[in-house]
């Protein structure tokens, strides 16, 4: 159990913002969060970001935030953990408060991707794999890992490409009600099933997009209406051939187990969930690993509509990475942004009476995972 509470939240529109700088996006989200929290004194800043150095030639994001917002000569850092950069940044802020060093921390996440070519971004994303390996030399890609996994999942279960399409469709339908989401255009199951193939069996709609955007939180040990019950983080295999069970992502399972244990709750207690659907297949695995549904049966829950905002275990009511968008470093923070709105009762696709919320943020092909459990108090 932590003694940390969420006081303020901020998030930019997610999408294509070629005319806005990374700094502008980052500051916009931070200022929203500061205002939402009533402009408290901030003791430290942690910023999640993955490829700012690689494709935007910008580092020192922590110091830039402190300087531009006039926060004083406080300690700051950028945190990198691939697509889990945001979740790990949040955890660093929580650990700083738990240690007694800080009272109030500004945690943010940002990514700027749409100015760069798809091949440059693909190259940068490949940095989240173990590149000194025979797998990389063979030509395995990031989406390719989840393609291999999906084909095996189909082989061992009754699932098919249609079930993955149902995940993508659900998240698109959720995004249609979220004005901050990247994709606001409706899609059909046929359109999703027949879209351009990226890596068999995953098509365009099964893969999260390139996105510009930022999100921010103010957390503090002073009480508020949203208590962070627990924060957990785990690592896992960095190569596909090292997986003991290809259809399991141990980092997700272990971070979930630790988060439940620390919070004193179980998967059955959670009212609303944001998980890391970097690919439609990943959402199916994550709902199994987090204990919401039995192993190898997540696809049945999808088929029965149980993960829709109207279902008994609503997943990605924001639209998820697939349709809210995936500005890599911002994603883990945007998940919390949306869940805090769920707990405040002001979210798009509001789940009635939501009290307990869970966020899971994944980095690499299962290399990192964080889980945070929030409670309305």
């Amino acid at each position: 159990m932590t003694n940390v509470y969420v006081h303020g939240i901020g998030m930019t529109q997610f999408g294509t913002f070629v005319d806005k700088s990374m700094k502008e996006l980052l500051l916009e989200a931070c200022i929203q969060a500061l205002e939402d929290a009533g402009n408290p004194k901030v003791d430290a800043v942690f910023v999640g970001n993955f490829m700012g150095g690689a494709i935007y030639n910008q580092e020192i994001l922590g110091a830039i935030v402190a300087n531009e917002l006039g926060l004083g000569f406080i300690p700051t850092a950028k945190v990198e953990g691939a697509c889990a950069s945001g979740g790990i940044a949040l955890r660093q802020g929580i650990m700083g408060i738990l240690s007694g060093e800080y009272e109030t921390v500004l945690v943010a996440g940002v990514e700027k991707m749409k100015h760069a070519s798809t091949s440059d971004v693909t190259q940068a994303i490949n940095a989240a794999m173990d590149n000194d390996s025979n797998e990389k030399q063979a030509g395995l890609t990031f989406p390719g890992f989840f393609g291999v996994l999906a084909n095996r999942y189909f082989h061992e279960t009754g699932a098919s490409k249609k079930h993955l399409a149902m995940v993508a469709l659900k998240n698109r339908e959720h995004a249609l009600n979220n004005p901050l989401a990247q994709f606001q255009k409706p899609a059909t199951l046929d359109e999703i099933m027949n879209a351009r193939m990226i890596t068999n069996p995953l098509g365009l709609f099964d893969c999260s997009p390139m996105t510009d955007g930022a999100a921010a939180l103010i957390i503090s040990k002073r009480n508020s209406g949203v208590h962070i019950l627990s924060s957990a983080q785990s690592s896992g295999p960095t190569q596909m051939q090292d997986a003991e069970d290809l259809l399991s992502i141990p980092a997700i399972r272990e971070s979930g187990r630790l988060a439940y244990e620390k919070a004193g709750v179980g998967p059955e207690d959670i009212d609303v969930v944001e998980i890391h659907d970097c690919f439609s297949m990943t959402e199916v695995l994550a709902i199994e690993e987090l204990g919401f549904f039995k192993k190898r049966e997540g696809w049945k829950a999808v088929e029965e509509g149980r993960t829709k905002s109207t279902g008994d275990k609503p997943v990605n009511t924001s639209g998820g990475l697939l349709s809210r968008g995936h500005p890599i470093g911002a994603t883990g923070i945007a998940q919390i942004y949306h869940l805090v709105r769920q707990l405040r009762g002001t979210a798009p696709n509001q789940v009635d009476g939501a009290r307990l919320a869970l966020a899971q943020n994944l980095g690499g092909t299962g290399s990192y995972s964080t889980v945070h459990i929030l409670e309305r108090v």
Binding site: T122, Q137, G139, V148, M197, T199, E244
Partner: protein
């Protein structure tokens, strides 16, 4: 093909590790096994990074070796299905290139 097997439990891998990730006490020791195996799963990569763009689409397979509880990621010389028997054709630039038997 060289694999690495733990000297105190049944863990084995195609790559070496400082200590055994399973029992966390054993050391991994090199062993030679046949590279022949069965396709455990695969994908056909249509959108490739720049360095592989000229050969796309190409097939990546995760191969279960016959002689050890070890899986190896390899590039195939053509399409495959789960369960296909495969053999090592050659090593090239640090990659295992396999062919269907």
């Amino acid at each position: 093909m060289k694999i690495f097997k733990c000297n105190s439990c049944d863990y084995a891998s195609v790559s070496s590790k400082y200590t055994c990730p399973k029992c966390r006490s054993g050391k991994l020791e090199a062993q030679e096994v046949s590279p022949e195996g069965t396709v455990f799963s695969f994908t056909d990569i249509h959108i490739a990074p720049a360095e592989f763009a000229d050969i796309a689409p190409y097939t990546i397979a995760l191969i279960q070796l016959d002689e050890a509880d070890v899986k190896v990621t390899a590039r195939m010389d053509g399409p495959v299905q789960i369960g296909d028997k495969v053999a090592l054709d050659k090593m090239e630039d640090g990659a295992y290139l396999y062919t269907k038997l």
